[in-house]
């Protein structure tokens, strides 16, 4: 471990931030536009199928199967491409929804898409088998051998099954992240393998100019977003930045800070409260990205992550050598001042949640007294970054409440010795303006929910509560 941390100099606050409810309205409007567009693609493919007379072809079993096969293929593929876009980490989605919400939407879509595609597969197979008077197995062989591109589509479907099965909760618990990740990469092959049969054998694209235009542009749009934002963009940026570990510093009994330096750090363009996927580029860790929030406002001298010892990966970080190459992907998240609408702000954190709160406190422009910081810790020795938070608070005239001590009642987010009055009463006591301030909460899940409950009781509107859930 090296102790050569750069001298702490506070970055001047970001004075360009806009406040007010108009910002919120604009955000909602943008979200509505994006979602309308997404739904419009689904309506479009179904509408074009109907225009083609698809609805009338439900006369006999053969037609019902064929029409079902076509409609499920159209809707399933459309949703699959949206599903892929949701995981491409595109900044324009991240900015509107936050990485957590986008990832949750991606997870939710996974299984339904498989069902729709499976319906397409089965309807096609059964329809062919009935029409040809063959057994399902014989027909499968037949399709595989005799119909152009059907073999690759079948391979794609099998790969999709593998990907979804490996992602259901029971399997996720048994698989290591690395194995799951490699399996998940098969999804890209699965999607590509299914493309040819849509154009060569399908009834809905070939020879129909509007549909051809739609599908080709949708495929290209998603592919470009995935290739650029998921692979090429981060790679080029990192090659340019040449980030290396410049110092590793112990912050508390179980927390360390990693400082990174490189060329032209402003190109990363992050904000306080955001996080990056961190890849330590050594033999053991280059393929294991981990998400960490920056713990100091962005500046041109260094990027700092403050990391608690929580598992296999984090426990080896104190031994990290100075000069080790590091790749960053990001920045991600909307736990930032972008979401601030009020002049008064309350920053609440517990334990591991301190780093983004520390960065936000540093970068938020406010008059003395406008910002209240509540820091919940088990004990003062465990309180990472406490001296820095104290320094920021003193310098800028923010109020700081450090709540140290063991947990009291099960439903309380406060230490036991403060449980004599309800949590929300204590919250008003710490900040009388709590209902008219923006509240940023960062801490473990159940604790965050307890804080949110208290906030609702004191009347802070949900739109003013900002908490990022950890979901990757």
């Amino acid at each position: 471990m090296s102790q050569t941390a750069p001298q702490l100099t506070l970055t001047p606050p970001n004075t360009r931030v806009r406040l007010g409810a108009k910002k919120l309205l604009q955000l909602k409007r943008s979200q509505d536009i994006i979602e309308t567009f997404a739904w419009a693609t689904v309506v479009f493919v179904a509408a074009m199928f109907f225009l083609d007379g698809g609805l009338a072809k439900f006369g006999n079993l053969n037609d019902i199967l064929q029409s079902t096969s076509r409609l499920t293929a159209l809707i399933g593929t459309d949703l699959l491409l949206i599903h892929t876009l949701l995981v491409a980490r595109v900044p324009w989605l991240d900015k509107l929804y936050g990485h957590d919400k986008v990832t949750i939407a991606h997870k939710k879509l996974g299984k339904p898409i498989l069902y729709v595609i499976a319906a397409h597969f089965l309807a096609s197979l059964v329809q062919f088998a009935i029409a040809d008077g063959k057994s399902l197995v014989a027909e499968m062989v037949n399709l595989f051998v005799n119909v152009p591109d059907m073999w690759s589509a079948t391979v794609g479907f099998v790969l999709m099954l593998v990907v979804v099965v490996s992602s259901i909760n029971a399997a996720r618990k048994k698989l290591s992240y690395e194995v799951w990740y490699v399996i998940h990469l098969l999804a890209y092959i699965s999607i590509l393998a299914a493309v040819p049969h849509q154009f060569s054998t399908g009834s809905d694209i070939a020879g129909k100019p509007l549909q051809t235009l739609f599908w080709v542009s949708l495929y290209l749009f998603v592919a470009l977003n995935v290739v650029w934002y998921r692979a090429l963009g981060p790679l080029l940026l990192n090659l340019g930045l040449g980030l290396r570990v410049s110092a590793v510093v112990r912050e508390s009994s179980d927390t360390i800070s990693i400082y990174l330096s490189g060329r032209g750090l402003e190109r990363l363009g992050g904000q306080a409260g955001q996080f990056y996927m961190l890849r330590i580029m050594n033999k053991e860790n280059w393929d294991k990205p981990h998400p960490f929030s920056i713990s100091a406002a962005p500046n041109n001298r260094f990027i700092r992550f403050t990391i608690g010892d929580r598992g296999d990966f984090t426990s080896q970080l104190p031994d990290l050598k100075v000069g080790t190459r590091v790749f960053l992907e990001g920045p991600y998240g909307v736990f930032t001042e972008e979401r601030r609408t009020k002049e008064k702000v309350t920053l609440i954190c517990a334990g591991v949640g301190a780093p983004p709160i520390r960065a936000l406190a540093e970068s938020m422009a406010a008059r003395p007294g406008d910002i209240t910081i509540i820091y919940r810790v088990r004990s003062y020795e465990d309180a990472a970054l406490l001296s820095e938070i104290e320094q920021v608070a003193r310098h800028r005239g923010f109020r700081l409440h450090v709540l140290s001590g063991k947990r009291g009642s099960a439903n309380s987010w406060l230490p036991g010795h403060l449980n004599d009055v309800p949590d929300h009463a204590r919250l008003i006591e710490m900040n009388p303006h709590i209902s008219e301030s923006d509240v940023y909460i960062c801490g473990p899940g159940p604790w965050t929910h307890a804080v949110e409950k208290s906030l609702k009781r004191v009347g802070t509107p949900a739109t003013q509560i900002h908490a990022e859930e950890f979901a990757w």
């Binding site: 509505d32 979602e35 309506v43 109907f50 609805l55 009338a56 072809k57 329809q127 005799n146 020879g207």
Partner: protein, 198 residues
């Protein structure tokens, strides 16, 4: 999404779907008519198809189906498509293959791009032969005639649609017609075979 937007988008979406479904229906009744016409012409083939091997030759020309199509069709997009194909189709019905649209004054390749050629393909799954002839005039396909078009399991009904699709696409850039994937593949092969001879 805000609830007001959700309601609006939901209603608009349902509206579009209902409208397109309604627009789509008359087209299919027209299609049903052509299919019935097709079956009348194909009854001989399906009857002979049961006798297998004995190659029954059914000639389903473009004209028989197109004339019935225009009779039933009224509105929608497909009508324009059908009417364009009928213009070329009716051109053949007047026996003289002089197409009404007479652009493309390309002199020398015109000779190479006109004429009638035959194409053949073997349909692997059901084991039948398909022989068609393609007539081209100034590079445009003006007539497709089934010389020997066979398909078992009633798939012969797809041939009129395939002829139409070939005329409309002026080639083989179209998807599966009339639920007949294998037949479509074989038919396209036959057309390609014929086109390769020009």
């Amino acid at each position: 999404m805000r609830s007001a937007t959700k309601t609006f988008v939901g209603l608009a979406g349902i509206g579009v779907l209902v409208a397109t479904a309604k627009l789509g229906l008359p087209v299919t009744t027209a299609n049903a008519a052509t299919v019935s016409v097709a079956t009348t012409t194909d009854t001989s083939s399906s009857q002979t198809a049961t006798n297998t091997d004995t190659t029954a030759s059914t000639s389903t020309t473009a004209t028989t189906s197109t004339t019935t199509k225009t009779a039933t069709k009224t509105t929608t997009k497909k009508t324009t498509k059908a009417s364009t194909s009928t213009s070329s189709g009716s051109g053949t019905s007047t026996a003289t293959p002089t197409p009404t649209p007479t652009p493309t004054p390309t002199p020398t390749p015109a000779a190479a791009n006109s004429g009638t050629k035959q194409g053949q393909a073997y349909e692997q799954v059901f084991g039948s032969n398909i022989t068609i002839s393609v007539t081209k005039s100034n590079g445009k396909i003006t007539e497709v005639t089934c010389i020997d078009c066979n398909a078992t399991h009633g798939y012969s009904r797809a041939f009129p649609a395939l002829v139409q699709a070939t005329l409309a696409a002026n080639g083989t850039n179209y998807g599966t017609q009339g639920n007949a994937t294998y037949t479509t593949i074989a038919f396209k092969k036959a057309v390609k075979d014929a086109l390769a001879k020009f």
